[in-house]
Subunit: 295 residues, 4 copies
């Protein structure tokens, strides 16, 4: 399988003007590769791409490809609010050397399946038919991609390579996997359960703050060591639950900033921001768990 393992949904460090901080981003990429990431989901939901300009997104993707140097795969999220902007990003991602592209379905105006397929086809063609991943994220888009819909998407867009399944219906994983796709679970807490059903790996935000925790799950799984994998998943859940308790975007950025001694900035408003005291509390809770190396 070309795409498999631990794929952090990487953050986009931004300055107070919401401009891309490339130097910090490259350090996050480097840290993740060194901690066991097999690939990256770039400029997606965790990456706040919906809030930043197309030119910034192009740079994010280009930097990700350039920094990894084939040490990890790059799946570039190019799903924008209009078909046209998504196509521009798709073409740029292909030119930058991304290994695959991905996109959420059209959102805001509820689409039917034909509208989704038309949108996806246009994007996929703009990328020169790079491997295409669907992003199933109903809590943000309002559209739940079912295995039946996925099957129709695949038959209309033959270079469909897989999906990130972040929807609530975990049991749909089997339906997706039976389509012979590279299926990533989009929930950091369910990597091992998903792998036991045949998933290819995990893509989620919490992974980029401590990739080693999910790399441990992946390595134990590959060694067929169930108990070790279960222990690793349990630790990963504890870590990821702290992140969720404090608001995901802010706390991922804060933990990475703290671990790498860099300043990744804050999420774009209206996303919640952590106060100084909440940041201290977060770091202190992470330290007390004693699960990751942080000092």
């Amino acid at each position: 399988m070309e795409f498999e393992g631990v794929y952090p949904a990487i953050i986009t460090p931004l300055n107070t003007e919401n401009k891309f901080k490339e130097k910090e981003f490259r350090k996050v990429v480097e840290f993740n590769i060194n901690s066991g990431a097999n690939g990256f989901w770039v400029s997606g939901g965790t990456g706040e791409s919906i809030y930043i300009s197309p030119n910034e997104i192009k740079n994010v993707i280009k930097s990700a490809v350039d920094q990894t140097q084939d040490r990890a795969k790059i799946i570039a999220h190019v799903g924008s609010i209009t078909t046209k902007e998504s196509q521009i990003l798709a073409e740029s991602a292909a030119n930058s050397g991304a290994n695959a592209i991905c996109a959420v379905p059209p959102f805001f105006y509820p689409p039917n399946l034909q509208t989704i397929i038309k949108h996806y086809k246009a994007i996929s063609e703009a990328s020169g038919n790079l491997p295409f991943f669907v992003y199933n994220l109903p809590q943000s888009t309002g559209t739940e991609i079912t295995p039946l819909m996925m099957s129709e998407i695949k038959s209309e867009i033959p270079n469909t390579a897989g999906l990130k399944h972040s929807g609530p219906k975990f049991t749909d994983m089997t339906g997706f996997i039976n389509l012979n796709l590279s299926c990533f679970i989009g929930n950091a807490n369910l990597m091992l359960p998903a792998l036991t059903l045949g998933a290819s790996g995990c893509i989620d935000g919490p992974l980029n703050a401590a990739p080693e925790l999910w790399a441990n799950i992946w390595n134990a799984f590959k060694k067929n060591n169930l108990l070790e994998a279960m222990e690793a998943q349990e630790k990963a859940i504890k870590f990821s639950n702290v992140i969720r308790d404090f608001d995901m975007h802010s706390s991922i950025k804060e933990i990475i900033s703290y671990r790498l001694k860099i300043d990744c900035g804050s999420p774009v408003l209206p996303l919640p921001q952590l106060t100084k005291s909440e940041k201290s509390e977060l770091i202190s809770e992470v330290k007390q768990m004693n699960i990751i190396d942080i000092s």
Copy 2:
């Protein structure tokens, strides 16, 4: 009541480059005022503002104010994906002379109530505290504004003037109305039912293709003529259901283009487009209904 009656959610005519066609827009405004519109909901969901650049939106709002010349109220939708862009639009709308602003809650990343209020407050302040309308559109935003939430919004933002309620829970209208707000029903098919509960009027897309139908409801209602109002509502439902059968954005633009002998263009992709034959079928169905003056 300052804001009441028939408020078309006006389309934004666009050329094939998605640039604002101001001349056509002014004709649509004029046609609507002459057909009985009491105000406009500008650059909202029907106006595709989510797809067009902030500069275009500023021009849309400015043109609406300039064309109406106080003959109708302008409620300018300034809700954008980021707080910052929403503030820029809010300030511009105020400078252009809009009578009120409105905004959907933050979307894509599900917000809690505090995040919504923070976002709304920032926008409202940027407008210099113009009358503020909430846009309850859960099918697009994923967030249902309840009367309880509305009450908290109102107490935090005292210039809250009303809301457009397009959510599925019609029965919530009473809760909103009891807050002493100007409550518009956001469903063209339910104007009269909403008025009987104390609503201030109706805001929806189908209205701008045939404002006279809803003006008839409003006028009969003001004359306390129930039977006449019911007959008017029945006709309005028939007309609006044809629009919905053919996809709302495309068919509203097509009917207006046909009635006013102008070219309002097509909706922005990924919104569905009507084929030539679908357009003919639509116009032919509208003519056969024999409800509006169209030739």
Copy 3:
């Protein structure tokens, strides 16, 4: 229209052994007819039929028919958990002289449309094809009856006469009404809005505690007096909201007991019971509203 107007969903007075208190029931029937009820929805959700034995239900229906003596229509709810028990009740209701029967769709195990139709057909035939009403109550049954489903039910069961629509999608009323059915709104707060769309009347629990309030809506509506109807609806909403604040079943029984100086008993557990002090508070709130005659 044979079935129209104010149809209280009548309570079933029960003693502490959950046995039917026929004498009290007849008094409630009499009070309702004298206060303007045009018919009754008997042994339905408000009637707690799901909790009482088939023999009791048979007696409830028989007493209702006998007491009304053609002064009001009887729609007997015979929808039980099994098809067989529903058939037995349907046959008995027909033999007792009920004017129509009604039934919720199968519940607990989510049914598809064919299962619903098969169930309804069996029941309808057991009644000798009495006028048949569908009960759309998705919050209890988990199944939302749409206008499309209703159309298929009507074509399979030609004696389908109407429905009670208690689902959240008020806008579906038009779709139901376009099927030329007797459509009752199942929400006491929405009688007038529904009438303006062509509904036949209102069926709900709060009606049987103060039928005069809804009779006022109905009478004003029939006189084409919109303002009077609106004032009547506003009062009805206030009354019904107090009932909902205190738990519907308990407070309806308590208000009726108080008004008629009888003891209708408490709802069956697990339905919530009002404490003595809650009962006093309820009655005191109702008195303070000064909307109904109560002393």
Copy 4:
């Protein structure tokens, strides 16, 4: 852990009068124990208890206890539509020697948490405080039990021993498990994924038609053999999906009847029935899969 492993949700064989066929039931129990069942979930959703009389249910539970003779645990489902009937069943189950009782929350009238706890407490006390299991089945009851609600239930009813989680939110398993409860996944397709998170086992209908398939998962899991467990889960999914394709109740009864050369009868109407040709097709499909011993 007292309650763990493979717990078939056992069917209730019924004759055409819906009377309990005890002899056949005992054979199903025996077959399941011999095929690796560690316990039974008796007279639950698969057992159609909602359709049969309390006296029949008492006999089902009594027979289950008597037939297992401590070779397997009995969790008796006593959740009925009224609190009183549930209590009668709970007391009887305790007297019959059941190891635990379980109950769905109140259904039909949507309950709040206090109503659920009051209902559960009354039932639990009637059983003399046997270990108590919650049955989370929102698709039937309309009520989703969350980990937070479960925590409150546990603190109010200290003999709470666990739950069967059949809701769609698989990720809630971790929250339930962190309450130190015996958590069974109520989805035959997710036994292994649930075990990797710390679940105690699996309870579901398909298990009683081929318990050996889930016993294989359990045994491989206990040996820490991940690959073997994954292969076993894959086979179990294939088998269970055929059952779901043909309607669950009918096909489980048919496969068991065929395998054991007995007549378990059909499900109670309105549950769907298989035609003769559908039954042949089902058996033929099961044979073609070549996963279980059937001839």
